[in-house]
C-alpha cells in the first residue's frame, strides 16, 4: 500500500509539472489543445494525490512504524481516533495534505472557470499547477511522508500532547485549506490579467466567489484555532499575537480587503489594479504564513512542525512575488478604471480607506512579527515583540475599521450629499452615544472599552435601521411585515449576506472587548475541602483523582461550583503530564453563558494535596464562538446563486415606464 502511494506521488509530480508547462505554453502560444491537455492533466491530480494520502492514513491506522513519518508522529499509546488525523501532525504529512487540497480545489475551480473564460483558465491552471509542482518537489526531495525506515522500531515517538484534542480534527485541516486556497482567487485574478482580460471584469464573479469561500475557510480556521487555544493552553486567553497566529491572520486581513474591494470592481468597474495588488499581497502573505509555520524563524507556542525547509518557502515566495509584479507591470495598461470617483464622500472611497486600513494592520503585524529576525541580524540583539506592542498599535486601527464597517454600507455609491450622511448616521450615532452613556451609568467606565462598545452599538443600529427602512418601504406597497422582510433579504443576497457577516463581526468584537478589558483572574491555592471565591462564584475543591496511562499521568480535579447561592454543578478540569515530552497538557473546565464564562484550570498538584488553580471570569466570550455559525450563514446566504433581473433590464424597465407615462 505504501509503495502504491510512493509511485503515485512520483506520477503526480510529473503530471503537475506537465500541467503547469502545457497550460502556460498553450496560453502563451495560443495553442488551445495544449492548454486544454494541461487542464485535463490537472483534473487527474486529486486522484493521484488521494492514493498517497490514503496509504499514509492507512499506515497510521495500521500503526506501520516501518514508515519513518508514522514512527515519528504516532505511537501505540495514541488513541485510535487520532491515528486518522495524525497525518498532518508533522511536516511531511501536512505538505501532502496541502498538495491534496490544492489539487482538489484547483480541479473544481478550473472546471467552473473553463466554461466561462477559456483564456483566463489556461493561465490560472498554469499558476495553480506551478504551485502544486512546488509542493511536489518539496515532498519528493525533502520531506517524503512515505519514506521507509531501514529497521522497523517497536513503537513510535508519538505526537505533541497538545495536539491530542478534539480541535485536532477540525482546526489544522481548515486552517491549512484556507491558506492554500488563497491560490485559487489569486490564479483567477492573475490569469485574467495575464490573458489581457483584467479590464473586462468578467473574472470578477468567479474571483469574488472563490475569494469569499477562501475568506470563510480562513475565518473559520482562525476561530477554531482560538477556541482550541482557549480550552487547552490553560491561561484563559485565545489570542496572544504569537508569530504563528499572526501568520494566519495576515492573509485573512488581505483577503478581507480583497472581498470588499472586488465589489467595487463588480459594481463600478473601478479598482482594477488595486484588486490585483490586494490578491498578490494576500497570496504572498499566505506563503509567508507557511514559511513562518514551517521554517520557524520566530519562536512560537504553536510550532508543532519545525523544519529546516523555511528557506524553500521563502525562495518560492520571493519568486512568485517577483513574477507577479513583473506580470502586473507588463499588463498594467489593460487595467484602467472604467469610471473615476464622483466624490470623496462616497461608498467607493470608504471601501478604499477600509482596504488601506486592513493592509496597514497586516503590515504592522508583519513588521512586529519579523522585527526580531532583523534585529538579531542587524544589531545582534534579540528582542521580543509581543502582545502589548500589537494591542497598542493595531488596537486603534482595528477600532477605526469597525467604525468604517458601520459607516460604509450606509453611504450611497458615487456621491453622498451632506444630507445623506446626516440622515444615514443620525440613528447609529445617537445609539452609540446612548450606549456609552448607559455603560458609564452602570459604572463600566474604562474609556477605551466604552468607546469600542459604543462603536459596536453604532454599527448594529446602522444595520438594523437599514433592515427596518427596507422592510417599511416594502410594507408600504402592501406586503405584510414578515414577507416584506424576507423578500428584502432575498432580493439582494450579497448585500444582506454582507450585513449578517457584519453583525457576526460585531458579536466577535463584543466578545473580544468584554474578555480583554473585563476579565477577572486569580491564581488560587486550594486544599481538598477548601472553598474559593471569585466575582460572585464560589467553588469547593473536593479532591483529585490520579490515573496512570502508558504515556501520561492524568490528574482530574473535582470542584462543586455555586453562584449566588445556587449550585451550578460539578466541574472536572484536568491536567495530563507526558513524561516523554515533558509537557503538561491542561484542559480547563468552562461554564459558558452569554453573559460570562466561568473558567477553571489546574496548573499544579502538589504531593501534600495542595492544588494551584487558575480561575477566570471572562465576560462575553460566548459571543465570539456564537458569531462563527452566524458568519457562516451570512457568507453562504451572500453567495447563494441568484437568478435576478440584471441591472440593464431594470434600467430598461424604468425607461419603458417613463416612455409610457
Amino acid at each position: 500500500m505504501v509503495e502504491i502511494g510512493q509511485v503515485s506521488l512520483v506520477i503526480a509530480a510529473l503530471v503537475a509539472a506537465y500541467a503547469a508547462l502545457a497550460s502556460f505554453l498553450g496560453a502563451g502560444l495560443r495553442m488551445t489543445d495544449l492548454s486544454t491537455s494541461g487542464r485535463y492533466a490537472a483534473y487527474s491530480l486529486p486522484l493521484l494525490l488521494a492514493a498517497p494520502t490514503v496509504s499514509l492514513v492507512n499506515a497510521f491506522v495500521g500503526r506501520d512504524f516501518s514508515v519513518r513519518y508514522v514512527a515519528e508522529n504516532s505511537n501505540l499509546a495514541m488513541p485510535n481516533a487520532y491515528t486518522w488525523v495524525a497525518m498532518y501532525a508533522g511536516n511531511a504529512g501536512s505538505l501532502l495534505f496541502l498538495a491534496l487540497v490544492l489539487a482538489v480545489t484547483s480541479a473544481i475551480a478550473l472546471r467552473g472557470l473553463s466554461r466561462r473564460m477559456p483564456h483566463t483558465t489556461a493561465y490560472a491552471s498554469g499558476i495553480l499547477m506551478l504551485a502544486l509542482t512546488f509542493f511536489m518537489v518539496i515532498i519528493l526531495g525533502f520531506a517524503n511522508p512515505l519514506e521507509r525506515l531501514p529497521i522497523t522500531p517497536a513503537d513510535g515517538q508519538g505526537i505533541n500532547p497538545l495536539l491530542v484534542h478534539f480541535g485536532m480534527f477540525i482546526h489544522p485541516p481548515v486552517q491549512m485549506t484556507g491558506l492554500v486556497m488563497v491560490s485559487v482567487p489569486f490564479s483567477i485574478a492573475m490569469g485574467a490579467m495575464m490573458a489581457g482580460r483584467g479590464g473586462r471584469d468578467e473574472w470578477v464573479d468567479q474571483g469574488r466567489l472563490w475569494g469569499m469561500i477562501t475568506w470563510l475557510v480562513l475565518t473559520v480556521g482562525l476561530m477554531l484555532g482560538a477556541w482550541w487555544a482557549y480550552t487547552i493552553l490553560g491561561w484563559g486567553g485565545y489570542w496572544a499575537w504569537d508569530p504563528v497566529e499572526n501568520s494566519a491572520l495576515m492573509p485573512w486581513l488581505a483577503m478581507t480587503a480583497f472581498v470588499h474591494s472586488i465589489m467595487v470592481q463588480k459594481r463600478r468597474g473601478m479598482f482594477r489594479m488595486w484588486n490585483i495588488v490586494l490578491i498578490i499581497t494576500a497570496f504572498t502573505l499566505a506563503q509567508m504564513g507557511m514559511f513562518i509555520n514551517r521554517g520557524g524563524p520566530v519562536p512560537s507556542v504553536h510550532s508543532f512542525a519545525q523544519s529546516s525547509m523555511g528557506w524553500l518557502f521563502l525562495s518560492f515566495m520571493t519568486f512568485t512575488l517577483l513574477a507577479s509584479l513583473a506580470a502586473f507591470w507588463w499588463r498594467a495598461g489593460t487595467l484602467k478604471s472604467r469610471e473615476g470617483l464622483d466624490s470623496i464622500l462616497s461608498r467607493e472611497s470608504v471601501f478604499l480607506t477600509q482596504n488601506v486600513l486592513f493592509l496597514a494592520v497586516a503590515l504592522v503585524t508583519l513588521w512586529g512579527t519579523v522585527f526580531p529576525i532583523f534585529s538579531e541580524a542587524a544589531q545582534d540583539e534579540t528582542v521580543t515583540v509581543g502582545a502589548p506592542f500589537f494591542n497598542r498599535v493595531n488596537g486603534p486601527l482595528i477600532l477605526t475599521l469597525v467604525v468604517l464597517m458601520g459607516v460604509g454600507p450606509l453611504l450611497p455609491w458615487r456621491r453622498a450629499s451632506r444630507a445623506n450622511v446626516v440622515n444615514a448616521l443620525k440613528y447609529p450615532v445617537a445609539a452609540g452615544v446612548a450606549a456609552a452613556a448607559v455603560l458609564m451609568l452602570l459604572g463600566i467606565g474604562r474609556p477605551v472599552a466604552v468607546t469600542a462598545f459604543s462603536v459596536c452599538a453604532m454599527v448594529v443600529t446602522g444595520i438594523l435601521s437599514e433592515w427596518v427602512r427596507g422592510t417599511m418601504s416594502r410594507r408600504r406597497s402592501g406586503e405584510p411585515t414578515p414577507l416584506a422582510f424576507g423578500r428584502l433579504l432575498l432580493r439582494n443576497r450579497p448585500r444582506y449576506g454582507g450585513y449578517v457577516v457584519h453583525l457576526a463581526i460585531v458579536m466577535l468584537a463584543v466578545g473580544a472587548i468584554g474578555s480583554s478589558f473585563y476579565s477577572v483572574q486569580r491564581d488560587m491555592v486550594l486544599r481538598p475541602g477548601d472553598t474559593g471565591n471569585l466575582d460572585g462564584y464560589s467553588f469547593r475543591y473536593l479532591g483529585v483523582e490520579k490515573t496512570f496511562f502508558a504515556d501520561r499521568v492524568e490528574e482530574v480535579a473535582e470542584l462543586v461550583v455555586y453562584s449566588g447561592g445556587s449550585r451550578l454543578g460539578t466541574m472536572r478540569p484536568f491536567r495530563a503530564f507526558y513524561p516523554d515530552f515533558r509537557i503538561a497538557s491542561t484542559r480547563g473546565a468552562i461554564r459558558s453563558t452569554p453573559a460570562e464564562d466561568f473558567y477553571i484550570v489546574p496548573s499544579e498538584f502538589d504531593e501534600d494535596g495542595r492544588a494551584v488553580f487558575r480561575v477566570l471570569v471572562n465576560p462575553l466570550v460566548w459571543w465570539m464562538w456564537a458569531s462563527g455559525p452566524l458568519l457562516f450563514v451570512g457568507v453562504v446566504f451572500g453567495l447563494w446563486p441568484q437568478r435576478r433581473p440584471a441591472a440593464e433590464t431594470l434600467t430598461a424597465r424604468a425607461l419603458a415606464q417613463a416612455a409610457r407615462a
Binding site: W235, V244, S303, T384, P388, L442, R491, L534, R643, A656
Partner: protein, 183 residues
Amino acid sequence: MNSGPSPSHDRGRQSGHAAFRWYARAAAALICLAAACASQDDVPPLEQRAQALNRTIMCPVCPGESLDQSQHVLASQMRAVVDEKLAEGRSDESIREFFVERYGPSVLMEPPGRGATALVWIVPPLGAVAAAAGLFLVLRSMRRAGPAAPNRSPANPLSDRERESYFRRIESAMADPGRDERG
C-alpha cells in the same frame, strides 16, 4: 376623513406597543450582559499589578509565552519572584529591570523604545501617516479624473452608442415583459 380611530391606526398603535415591549426586553437583556462586565473586583490590588506585570514579561524558556500564560516551572518560579518583589514594595519598572539584567532585553514582551529597537515603534505611525497622505492624494486624483471621463453634459446625457444600447434593451424588455419578474 374618518374622525374615529381607523382600524389601520389601531393596528399601528398595537404594533407600536408590541414594538415598545420588544425594545424594552432587548434593552434589559443588553443591560444584563453589560452588567457582566461590572466585576465585583475582589482581586487584591497587588495581585492585579502582578498580573499586569506578568503579561509584559516573557518566560525565557517557553517559545512565545508570557509569564502569565506559561505552565512551565520556571514561569511559576518567576511569578513567585514578581509577587515577592511587589510585596517588598518595588516598582514595576525596577522589577522588569531585574529580569532584563538576568535574561537580557528579550525577556520583555514589549520591545524597549531605546536605540535601534525604537524603530519598531517609529515605523508604524510614520507608515500610517504616509498611507493616509497617499490615500488622500489617490482619492483626489481619482476624483479629478472622474468627471472628465464620461462625456455627460445635461444637454447630452447619453452618448449615441449608449442611447442605442438603451433603446435595444427597452425593445427587448417590451417584447418579453415578464422577464424580470421571474427572479
